[in-house]
């Protein structure tokens, strides 16, 4: 009986500690979110979103920054999505999981996924900006991000394709459809929600990125005229305002709030798509 009482006390203490840890984590996170919302809401307005930055961002808004961010994202997705999805289709549908080719591709993507973003930045600076002579431009920033997105887009798409039941493939084969037709008419439509979720996760990753863009897409906060102009991404704008611009804290708060809300929407949408798919699978 004494042992039982001792156990109960120990269990209670440990439960208390775990609750304390959770409380601490939640408090810190709410503190942070509150700070961002509080500091940002004061400065955020419609004008802030539609005006270009004045006086290194102390005044004015972030319109040109948003345009640059969108352009960088567009370049990154145009370059990486076809490549990533082609690789995913090949890995999931056309190559046996144990083949040497599949293993090599999967291994290099695994390595790529672990590379720190600053190293992508170094590579982008050396290869795109200097070797290919693209300079500090939206194009070199976007292409650097494209390299970063490859592994995440490929792995989410491959997982989505593998989740399509094999009965689809055998039924298509029994009907005498070619694999190309089966892929375009059956498997890709069935996997579309996960592909979209993966795409959204990739977009979120790209929007959050700063280090890889520091010396590829550059710092210029003007409205970009072409893809070869330098353009400052939103995340970089927050960094620059808080580190290099005295008195830039208020616009930095507002920019951070814009970025975080944007990412929040994207992540929630991605989760909805992924969970929706799971539910459908359970019900059928």
């Amino acid at each position: 009986m004494l042992l039982r009482a001792k156990q109960q006390i120990r269990d209670g203490v440990i439960q208390g500690l775990i609750y304390l840890a959770v409380l601490l984590v939640s408090l810190v996170f709410f503190w942070m979110l509150f700070d961002l919302a509080h500091g940002g809401a004061a400065h955020l307005s419609w004008q802030f979103l539609t005006e270009s930055p004045i006086d290194a961002g102390r005044a004015g808004g972030i319109a040109s920054i948003l345009v640059s961010t969108a352009l960088i994202l567009l370049v990154a997705l145009t370059a990486s999505v076809p490549l990533a999805w082609a690789t995913a289709v090949l890995l999931a549908e056309f190559v046996p999981a144990e083949s040497a080719f599949g293993k090599i591709v999967r291994f290099s993507l695994y390595v790529l996924a672990g590379v720190p973003s600053i190293v992508f930045g170094l590579f982008g600076n050396a290869f795109f900006s200097i070797y290919l002579e693209l300079g500090f431009s939206i194009l070199s920033g976007g292409l650097t991000l494209a390299c970063m997105l490859l592994p995440i887009l490929t792995s989410t798409a491959e997982a989505g394709l593998r989740a399509v039941p094999d009965t689809y493939r055998s039924s298509a084969a029994a009907l005498g459809l070619s694999r190309t037709v089966a892929l375009t008419h059956l498997i890709l439509p069935a996997a579309a929600p996960t592909l979209a979720a993966g795409l959204l996760i990739g977009i979120g990753r790209a929007l959050a990125e700063t280090a890889a863009l520091l010396f590829t897409s550059g710092y210029v906060d003007r409205m970009p005229g072409s893809l070869l102009d330098s353009g400052r991404a939103l995340a970089l704008h927050i960094f620059d305002l808080s580190m290099n611009v005295p008195g830039g804290d208020n616009p930095a708060y507002a920019s951070a709030l814009v970025l975080v809300s944007l990412l929040l929407c994207i992540n929630i949408l991605a989760m909805k798509l992924a969970y929706g798919l799971q539910r459908k699978k359970i019900m059928t």
């Binding site: 269990d11 775990i18 082609a86 695994y110 672990g114 892929l183 700063t210 280090a211 927050i238």
Partner: protein
């Protein structure tokens, strides 16, 4: 069929290109590092007076120690908190609370590093500075990194805990084990490999993290003597100096990038091996 063969060809070309990107990155880092790796003595990276790139002394050790200390500190704080969070979600919390807390953690996993850095700079650094100036310090870096890796540790630990087979629980309760007895004696040993793999991946993330650390760590090149000393990490050093570095200096920065990449690759290979072993 004709179209199938064409399609496979196109897909193979795409996949090959994806592999080439990895090779290209590695080759370019090596290529840019080459003049430093062959022209300067490697021992100089360990024994030079300090990091004075303009005078040609390139000691990387203070930055390496800064990087390692910040990451180790973050793991020491983040691992217990993350594990406690995962245990809370899987075993202790009522269902709706567990779901809510899980959403909060997933939300935090999506917050960009620059926002963590910004919050650290505007909130944590002034707080620490009131207590022990200058504020921008190893401690601030550790705290911000802890917040950043905590969601990752929690999510991977959750996955490992939920993967523990149901029958182990039934056996434990048949033996009359208490809740913590079951967790400590049965569940944690069964989930150990997955939890460790998650922590190793988090360590890799902490080592390579640039922006958040750059913003709060103070960036003084030195071996820190206390938690309140400013430090500079390898990644932060690259971000600070690439813009104006020339010649050997630039090449040494690429060497430190290569070093960082190798460190992270070793860690993620370890995590990969662990996960593979668990699946068998």
């Amino acid at each position: 069929m004709q179209t199938d063969r064409v399609l496979t060809g196109i897909l193979r070309a795409g996949a090959l290109l994806a592999v080439l990107v990895m090779l290209l990155i590695f080759c370019f880092l090596l290529f840019e590092s080459w003049s430093a790796l062959t022209g300067l003595s490697i021992a100089g990276f360990l024994t030079d007076v300090s990091w004075h790139p303009l005078e040609g002394t390139y000691n990387l050790m203070p930055m390496l120690s800064g990087t390692l200390l910040a990451s180790i500190g973050a793991i020491m704080l983040g691992a217990p908190l993350g594990l406690a969070s995962a245990l809370f979600i899987v075993f202790f919390a009522p269902l709706h609370l567990a779901l809510l807390y899980r959403r909060l953690i997933e939300l935090l996993a999506g917050i960009p590093s620059v926002v963590f850095g910004f919050w650290g700079l505007t909130t944590l650094v002034p707080l620490i500075s009131e207590w022990q100036p200058p504020g921008a310090s190893l401690l601030a870096a550790v705290l911000v990194l802890t917040l950043m890796i905590l969601p990752m540790i929690t999510i991977t630990a959750c996955a490992a805990l939920t993967a523990v087979p149901e029958e182990l629980f039934r056996n434990a309760s048949a033996l009359g084990m208490s809740r913590w007895g079951t967790i400590a004696g049965v569940v944690l040993p069964a989930a150990r490999v997955g939890i460790t793999a998650g922590i190793i991946l988090a360590a890799a993330r902490a080592l390579g993290e640039t922006m958040a650390v750059l913003m709060v760590a103070g960036n003084v090149v030195q071996h820190p003597e206390s938690l309140f000393d400013p430090v500079r990490t390898l990644a932060a050093n690259i971000a600070l100096e690439v813009a104006y570095a020339m010649g050997d200096h630039r090449s040494v920065l690429f060497v430190s990038g290569l070093l960082l990449m190798l460190l992270v690759m070793v860690l993620s290979a370890m995590a990969g091996l662990l996960e593979e072993r668990q699946q068998v």
